[in-house]
């Protein structure tokens, strides 16, 4: 069946969207949630397993204290209350990705609850209410054999690797997010982005969406505009990039509207998102699958974080990313646009470190957003992966400030840095890049330029100072770029005064 899709503008004219996001964060602990197997990514299949995470008889799980610490820190960073006492629960289901036939999770006693996170979209702040953040374990990884495209539908059988089974996960669940209207796709994206920033700042996860260490499930429903009710939702699972979150919301809004406009009712179901065309398709039917028969996990004792511990952990929280951005913008004197460009280029931390190493904020920003962004694009890498570090950028700028080199020569210094030719000073010496500070040579070059360009010289004598650029250019050419353009200008104007 082909979905009837309603154009986005028509959707928001007739319906109010309600969003709900569930984000799974895989923690970067050394070991799994309930056993001492390595939690690292990318091992050979079934080499990071033991009787506990394979669910073999008699195995006894023990909670990873570090994972509880990370869970509490995430909860605090999301402005949540931290439970004084909570338990793990068994979520019973039969699916080969969990060899125990249950997932150890938390049910009605999450470790963190009732929080919020503010996100900004196009200058408007949306407060996202957090319902809960709870601890659980990841599942194994299945690959499906037979059928088409490795999909589960039509597969003949499946192969399971349990290295990932038991890796600590924190699931962060929002309350329904209302009142976002046409901004719903952007709010969803901004929220996931804000969670990722927070997780990075906390240092509790690799936070790599491409590797699945942050995964988002996107719930969406529509209700007739102004009705104030909640419609039936769909749940699009495992949306694995920020752009996909936005697209998935947009698509589901158009799809739901198509069904509702035709007088139909939306089926409450899970959907799969397809990166290639931005559509979703129906996932596994849940008939009795919601009946998980949760009960308290008898093999794990309750977790009761003391208030002292919680306060100790609160003291370790990094500055809230949004507050930090506002502070940096103020300190740096950046415009909103400067700031947006810097964040958009993935250069915020790099500029911050460059400023910390002594460079002026605008100079730091200029290098990272122009010269170095271009080089990163050429090399097909992220800015942060470029073989130039903030301290080097600050060193290059210091040499520009000292008029040892100018901006043009600085670019050649970056060439040298990327080629691993040593420190900026070594590169300047080896490549002979220093600005000529010999006044005699400069003066001679200026005289020569004036003599060769009598028309321009006359204009400047007549007060047309703007014409000086042409003479400065001629001098810089004569000096093969190795002159301080500001000093050249001074000389030109002095001689033609």
């Amino acid at each position: 069946m082909t979905d009837m899709l309603v154009p986005f503008d028509d959707v928001v004219a007739s319906y109010d969207p309600a969003l709900g996001l569930e984000i799974h964060v895989e923690l970067n602990t050394n070991t799994k949630m309930f056993c001492g197997c390595p939690a690292s990514f990318g091992g050979e299949p079934n080499t990071q397993v033991c009787p506990t995470c394979l669910g073999l008889p008699g195995a006894m799980p023990v909670v990873n204290g570090k994972a509880v610490e990370s869970a509490i820190r995430i909860g605090l960073a999301l402005n949540c209350d931290i439970a004084e006492w909570c338990r793990f629960a068994r979520k019973n289901y039969f699916y080969p990705d969990m060899p125990k036939n249950f997932q150890t999770s938390q049910y009605d006693e999450p470790i963190a609850f009732e929080g919020y996170l503010d996100v900004e979209v196009e200058g408007e702040t949306f407060r996202i209410e957090i319902e809960r953040a709870h601890m659980e374990e990841d599942t194994g990884k299945s690959s499906h054999v037979g059928g088409t495209d490795g999909r589960i539908h039509g597969a003949d059988y499946s192969l399971v690797d349990y290295n990932r089974a038991g890796i600590p996960l924190i699931e962060i669940v929002t309350k329904p997010i209302l009142g976002t209207g046409e901004k719903a796709p952007l709010v969803a994206k901004a929220y996931v982005s804000a969670i990722r920033d927070l997780i990075v700042a906390l240092g509790v996860s690799d936070a790599r969406m491409d590797q699945g260490s942050i995964r988002a499930d996107v719930n969406l429903s529509l209700a007739p505009k102004g009705s104030g009710v909640l419609g039936t939702r769909s749940e699009t699972k495992n949306v694995n990039s920020l752009r996909s979150v936005e697209r998935a919301v947009r698509f589901e809004m158009s799809r739901h509207a198509g069904i509702l406009d035709a007088g139909g009712s939306v089926l409450q179901e899970t959907r799969h998102f397809h990166e290639n065309d931005g559509t979703t398709s129906s996932g596994r039917e849940k008939s009795d699958a919601e009946d998980y028969r949760y009960f308290p996990e008898p093999d794990l004792v309750p977790v009761a974080p003391s208030r002292e511990w919680v306060e100790e952990l609160r003291a370790t929280l990094p500055e809230n990313p949004a507050a930090k951005r506002a502070r940096l913008q103020e300190e740096w004197g950046f415009t909103d646009l400067d700031m947006r460009d810097t964040i958009g280029a993935g250069a915020l931390a790099l500029v911050e470190e460059t400023v910390a190493a002594g460079a002026a904020p605008q100079a730091a920003r200029k290098w990272w957003l122009t010269e170095l962004t271009r080089r990163a694009n050429d090399a097909g890498v992220e800015l942060a992966e470029l073989a130039v570090i903030p301290a080097q950028v600050a060193a290059v700028q210091a040499l520009v400030d000292a008029k040892t080199i100018n901006d043009k020569l600085a670019r050649q210094v970056f060439d040298g840095l990327l080629a691993g030719e040593g420190t900026p000073e070594e590169i300047i010496a080896a490549r002979g890049l220093a600005v000529v500070s010999d006044e005699g040579a400069l003066s001679a070059a200026v005289d020569k330029a004036i003599a060769e360009n009598p028309d321009i010289a006359d204009k400047i004598r007549d007060g047309k100072v703007a014409a000086a650029g042409a003479l400065i250019g001629a001098v810089m050419k004569e000096m093969r770029g190795q002159a301080d353009a500001g000093r050249v200008r001074e000389l030109v104007l002095e001689k033609l005064a």
């Binding site: 050394n30 299949p45 909670v63 994972a67 019973n92 059988y157 794990l300």
Partner: protein, 99 residues
């Protein structure tokens, strides 16, 4: 104490993936009720001031250091598997025909 109905037992059997025929359901439902009644006698002893207990020993915060300990090799892990392929557990088709 309400009785467990035959339909509820059938539903539980279905959730637990235990295939029970009619005769077995007829046989088991009354037996389960006898067990439930026996356990229910506890409620006659424990008053409202006694909260339900999930753990018999009053312990909390039993944590493990985040230190890797050796587990099983892939060969050991797969040794009990009915079928293995590419160093992975081979399992039957997950999504069966519609029930």
């Amino acid at each position: 104490m309400s009785q467990l109905t035959r339909d509820e037992v059938a539903h539980l059997a279905d959730l637990a993936r235990i295939d029970l025929d009619d005769a077995e359901l007829d046989h088991l439902a009354p037996q389960l009720n006898v067990i439930l009644e026996a356990v229910a006698s506890i409620s006659g002893v424990a008053g409202d001031d006694v909260p339900p207990t999930s753990h018999p020993i009053p312990l909390t915060n039993v944590f493990r250091e985040d230190v890797v300990v050796p587990g099983l090799t892939a060969e050991q892990a797969l040794s009990g598997a009915p079928e293995a392929e590419e160093q992975r557990f081979r399992v039957p088709r997950i999504l069966g025909d519609e029930q």
